[in-house]
């Protein structure tokens, strides 16, 4: 028990040490080459800005807005991706009909779609959520479909032998069997959802961390841009860690091959 706690502590300590080291390198570069704050603010300046913004409450609604969009987009896109993956896995003939359009929706640059979304859905939260959902539904769809298509043949035979219906085979075998792959898709979708939300905010939003970056660019406040980026990274890390924790808990009964 002590060893485990010590290991966890030492891992955390080394991560923190690494972060401090990177901060020092950043500070050293700023001081040595005398960059203007407009080009590259020092970590201290960014930290001060962040602290002020948090204390004044100026940044709170931006954080809340982006977080809301990310969660809504992830749930919507992930849900649609999972359901479509299951449907295409259960009815393979539909796959050849639908997949070309799914791939087309992914290969088109999302930034190019944003003006269309603004035209169709106006400004505000909804187009950002739709854009986020569009980005993060694909990993879930692909992983779920792969999981559905790669169920052990012997296990499928076992379920046929036991007289299981298609629905029972799906619920009792296919989804639990593919759970590790499906949950890996959730992790990828989570990371991409931040990209989707922030990029969509660049184009058609006045609130949110993406909008704050654009505002920072307009007001030549580089510290604000860095502060927004740091917040996006931090929240992305935290959400990733939460999902990883949930995944580990959900897969506690599965053999781990590491």
């Amino acid at each position: 028990m002590f060893n485990r706690s010590f290991n966890l502590f030492s891992k955390f300590f080394f991560k923190l040490l690494c972060l401090v080291f990177l901060g020092l390198v950043w500070e050293f570069i700023c001081k040595t080459w005398q960059f203007s704050s407009l080009i590259l603010p020092t970590p201290i300046e960014v930290f001060n800005f962040l602290l002020q913004a948090l204390q004044s409450g100026m940044i709170h609604r931006h954080i809340a807005q982006t977080l809301f969009e990310v969660i809504c987009g992830l749930c919507l896109g992930g849900g649609v991706g999972f359901c479509l993956g299951v449907i295409l896995g259960e009815f393979p003939k539909l796959k050849f009909l639908i997949m070309p359009y799914v791939v087309a929706s992914q290969v088109v640059p999302k930034l190019a779609l944003t003006p269309l979304f603004i035209l169709w859905f106006g400004f505000g939260t909804f187009p950002v959520v739709v854009m986020t959902a569009l980005i993060c539904f694909f990993p879930l769809l692909e992983n779920t479909l792969t999981a559905m298509e790669h169920v052990d043949t012997l296990k499928l035979q076992l379920f046929r032998m036991l007289g299981a219906s298609d629905y029972q085979t799906l619920i009792w075998l296919k989804i639990p069997h593919g759970a590790p792959l499906i949950l890996a898709g959730v992790r990828v979708a989570l990371v991409l959802s931040w990209v989707g939300a922030v990029v969509a905010e660049f184009m058609g939003s006045s609130v949110g961390l993406g909008a704050l970056i654009v505002a920072g660019q307009g007001s030549m406040n580089t510290a604000m841009i860095f502060a927004s980026l740091i917040l996006i990274t931090l929240m992305g890390w935290i959400m990733y860690a939460i999902v990883l924790g949930i995944e580990r808990r959900a897969l506690i009964h599965y053999p781990r091959r590491v």
Binding site: K155, R160, L162, G163, P176, H253
Partner: protein, 273 residues
């Protein structure tokens, strides 16, 4: 329902039969015109070389695949789909990793919506009989290969089947575990009054377990050997001369050379020269 109440009466009644059954993968027939009647309480073993259609034969017997010609008849009705009374033990234990031992064993009942407290108690009784009741709450991947095979057998027995079909279930086990399981299987068969079909490519295993051994070759039963041993069998049976006679007879029908000690000694001598 209790599995282990009264001793089971053996009645010479056809339970499962193949009537002129042929089966092909694509154009090629791998089983042709097979006739076979399984009586209640029979323990029949099927041997043959790899790819001769042994596993397909079992899949036909349980309704997993349908024959191109002929009928599979179970209790007077043509079998077109798997039925509850016929259980199948696969070559691999084929257990669900995410469920523990008892949930794996109860799976057939859960899928049929027949799970009750008494069935759970029966499942525990079966696990006890197979010597793995202590592992009931463990996850299956935490068990050894032999224990996993026992769980697979317990799962096949939990729905009180009349027929037990086994497709080389001990093929990947070490010799000692395999011998233990052979003894346990033969005892279970007698105790529960099952009708068992056991597919293997191991001649010794087939003779030790079966009351009759059938040899499959080129899509046909080329030889049927009745095994005249008592029901209660001990591993020492394998040392008897009758056992060797059966073994030689089956080897010959499989087209495999029969090695005698004299032939081996003369071959060794020739090599030294």
């Amino acid at each position: 329902m209790n599995h282990f109440t009264a001793p089971v009466e053996k009645m010479p009644r056809t339970l499962l039969s193949l009537n002129g059954v042929s089966f092909a993968y694509g154009e090629k027939f791998i089983l042709e015109g097979l006739d076979w009647s399984l009586m209640q309480g029979d323990f029949e073993c099927v041997i043959g070389r790899s790819g001769c259609g042994k596993s397909t034969l079992l899949q036909l017997l349980c309704g997993l695949v349908s024959p191109q010609k002929g009928d599979v008849v179970f209790r007077g009705n043509t079998l077109s789909n798997p039925v509850k009374e016929i259980s199948y033990v696969f070559q691999k234990p084929n257990l669900l990793d995410w469920l523990n031992v008892i949930d794996n064993v109860l799976l057939p009942l859960k899928l049929r919506g027949e799970l009750s407290t008494s069935e759970r108690a029966n499942a525990m009784q079966i696990l006890d009989l197979l010597g793995i009741s202590a592992h009931a709450d463990k996850l299956t991947w935490q068990l050894s290969g032999g224990e996993q095979s026992r769980v697979a057998i317990a799962r096949a027995l939990v729905a009180s089947p009349k027929v037990l079909l086994m497709d080389e279930p001990f093929a990947s086990l070490d010799a000692i575990t395999r011998e233990e399981l052979q003894v346990e299987l033969r005892n279970l068969h007698d105790q529960l009054g099952l009708t068992t079909v056991f597919v293997t490519h191991d001649i010794q295993e087939a003779i030790y377990l079966g009351d009759r051994v059938r040899v499959v070759k080129d899509g046909h039963f080329v030889h049927t050997q009745d095994i005249d041993f008592p029901s209660l069998r001990l591993p020492s049976l394998k040392d008897e001369s009758l056992f060797s006679n059966y073994s030689n007879s089956l080897r010959t029908s499989l087209g495999s050379p029969v090695y005698s000690s004299a032939a081996c000694i003369s071959a060794q001598g020739a090599m030294h020269v």
